[in-house]
């Protein structure tokens, strides 16, 4: 086990990692930008170094400053958290070249899985179902029309380098396809400097289901069950839960086993998430692998009792997993609401600024993960998430009731938060009766 690690991140996840380290008896080195100077959570670290100005590019993304901080502080490993450099294979490599462990997968695995097209090919090899579509890139309209005819309309045109919906087009028939094809390429070229696109079947009203996996460096791979993250707004997850509501047991087993196959095939170690979409007949299709810890990891922690951050550090340091798949329970129902400094009354516009007063929810079944406090100023430079409210109760009904109770208890004076909107979602018939889909928020709640 390490004596000391550096945390190349900020805010909630930096605090989360500090907590895990304290419980493991590992010393922590924090880094911070001028915008985060003086934040309370930095005091909990054993050391803290300023790495630059408020802008991420001038602080949390400065690889040389982060490596220097690790070296002067004698840190043996770096935990990247999520966001920033968490999925940057180059940073991953520089760490290892500097004889500092990167707490995550190998740069090679990260690279392979980072490219959607390669990842899809690996999935097929691992016999993980993928959305029917072109195997590889589409060169021209003619090929597009041919493939579309094979897989059947409606079809989706996607940019291989894409993300966040850019370079994406739906075509209901061949006419639409021929126009959309050009548009998608142009948009992709502009957005990513890479206009390569591919085709796949368009799935109506899908759910987003992902599987938490954990792998050591000795070939042992386990899953910590699935998370349903279907409630999203513009691809931003708002509510996550485990287990996936309404998933038949055989589908659960199938999707979790598929995730383990995928990770084994990619020769992947540390924590990761395999993302799927599930159609209305409970068929699941591989989407991508997130080669890092995720914001919503806490819901898997609650149902399994396993501290994922501690496990990340253990396996990175070379330890074998201390448990097998059979040892991993799935108790009750856990749910997480991301509390963002955004104003749902005004189209979720960012609401940074000073928190004059805050009443933090607590009590039976409630977990609160956040670095904020009365007097804390939410900076304008970073992600708008100010905290995560997690609830764990025996049944989904109880979990929803407690989450609503806790969201109503949370009172923040000085900034607006998404909490009131999340209450509306939790009270809606569609959510309670599990009739949501990835575009549900935009189509039914806004």
């Amino acid at each position: 086990m390490y004596n000391r690690i550096l945390i190349a991140n900020r805010g909630e996840i930096a605090l989360r990692i500090i907590r895990a380290c304290k419980e493991l008896g590992v010393e922590t080195v924090a880094v911070f930008s001028e915008a985060d100077r003086g934040s309370a959570y930095l005091e909990l670290a054993d050391e803290a170094y300023c790495v630059g100005n408020a802008k991420s590019a001038e602080s949390y993304l400065r690889i040389n400053q982060l490596i220097s901080a690790a070296e002067v502080s004698n840190s043996e490993a770096i935990h990247p958290g999520y966001g920033f450099l968490a999925e940057n294979a180059h940073f991953n490599e520089v760490c290892r070249e500097s004889n500092i462990d990167f707490i995550g997968p190998s740069p090679q695995a990260m690279q392979k899985l980072g490219d959607k097209n390669t990842a899809r090919e690996m999935a097929v090899q691992a016999e993980v179902p993928v959305v029917p579509g072109s195997d590889g890139l589409i060169e021209d309209e003619a090929q597009a029309a041919k493939v579309a005819a094979e897989i059947g309309y409606p079809v989706l045109i996607k940019a291989t380098a894409g993300g966040g919906g850019k370079g994406m087009r739906v075509a209901m028939d061949e006419n639409e396809l021929l126009t959309a094809f050009g548009q998608a390429r142009t948009e992709a070229g502009a957005a990513f400097g890479n206009d390569a696109v591919y085709l796949e079947k368009f799935i109506l009203h899908p759910r987003h289901v992902e599987v938490q996996v954990l792998a050591d460096q000795h070939g042992n791979v386990v899953h910590l069950w699935e998370r349903d993250c279907t409630v999203q707004r513009r691809h931003q997850k708002l509510i996550e839960e485990s287990p996936g509501p309404g998933l038949p047991q055989d589908v659960r087993k199938g999707i979790c086993d598929a995730a383990v196959r995928m990770v084994k095939h990619a020769d992947y170690h540390n924590a990761g998430t395999v993302e799927f979409i599930v159609d209305q007949d409970d068929n699941f299709y591989f989407i991508e692998v997130n080669a890092r810890i995720q914001v919503e990891h806490c819901v898997s922690e609650m149902v399994t009792g396993i501290d994922l951050i501690q496990q990340q550090i253990r396996v990175a340091s070379g330890e074998k997993l201390a448990f097998t798949q059979e040892d991993i329970p799935c108790n009750g129902v856990a749910m997480e609401c991301r509390i963002n400094a955004e104003d749902p009354e005004f189209n979720f516009r960012p609401s940074p600024g000073k928190i004059n007063q805050i009443f933090i929810p607590g009590g039976m079944g409630v977990r609160w993960d956040s670095h904020v406090h009365a007097g804390y100023v939410v900076p304008t430079f970073y992600d708008s998430m100010v905290g995560k409210l997690i609830v764990h109760r025996p049944t989904r009904e109880e979990t929803i009731a407690t989450m609503i109770r806790a969201l109503n208890e949370l009172r923040v004076d000085g900034i607006a938060t998404t909490a009131p909107f999340q209450v509306k979602v939790l009270e809606s018939d569609d959510f309670i009766n599990n009739r949501v889909y990835t575009k549900w928020v935009e189509e039914k709640m806004l």
Partner: protein, 161 residues
């Protein structure tokens, strides 16, 4: 303003403002807002005390835990503001001398020019010579030799010319 009671000085009267401010500090007032006809004196200060988040860490990282806007506050601690500081441009190890056996680049009392090298900060095997950036007299070296420093940590206190 024309017909002003002689015993009632201008709102701009510095002495009276100073008295108000001292009262506010002494009694932890956040705001004073006084109006009369077209005159107004409004004074505001501070938020709630963030003292619990004051520095608790070792020398170098100490700056880390200084309250937000810590720079300003640090300055406020000084008896006066006639000094400037040479800050570290990078994370690294501070060296006060080019070689272990050689003397310090500078010591308290030395006059430096903007281009004078005052120390080295080593990061990733690269030895960065740090220029003073201002001309003046070194009042104090604030970091020990071979001590780790972060970006914007204060290295030297300088009395500018």
């Amino acid at each position: 303003m024309a017909k002003e009671k002689s015993d009632d000085p201008s709102v701009f009267d510095v002495e009276r403002i100073r008295e108000f401010i001292e009262m506010m500090k002494e009694h932890e007032l956040n705001e004073v807002d006084l109006r009369q006809s077209d005159k107004r004196i409004k004074l505001r200060r501070g938020g709630e005390p963030m003292t619990m988040y004051a520095p608790q860490m070792a020398a170098a990282p100490a700056a880390a835990a200084a309250p937000a806007g810590g720079g300003a506050e640090a300055a406020a601690e000084e008896d006066d503001s006639n000094f400037e500081y040479i800050l570290s441009p990078t994370v690294g190890t501070f060296y006060s001398k080019p070689k272990p056996e050689s003397p310090d680049f500078v010591k308290a009392g030395d006059e430096v020019g903007a281009d004078s090298v005052v120390c080295i900060v080593e990061a990733m095997k690269m030895f960065n010579e740090i220029p003073a950036g201002i001309s003046g007299k070194i009042v104090a070296c604030l970091v020990k030799n071979e001590q780790p420093v972060g970006v914007n940590d204060k290295l030297f206190k300088v009395a500018p010319n």
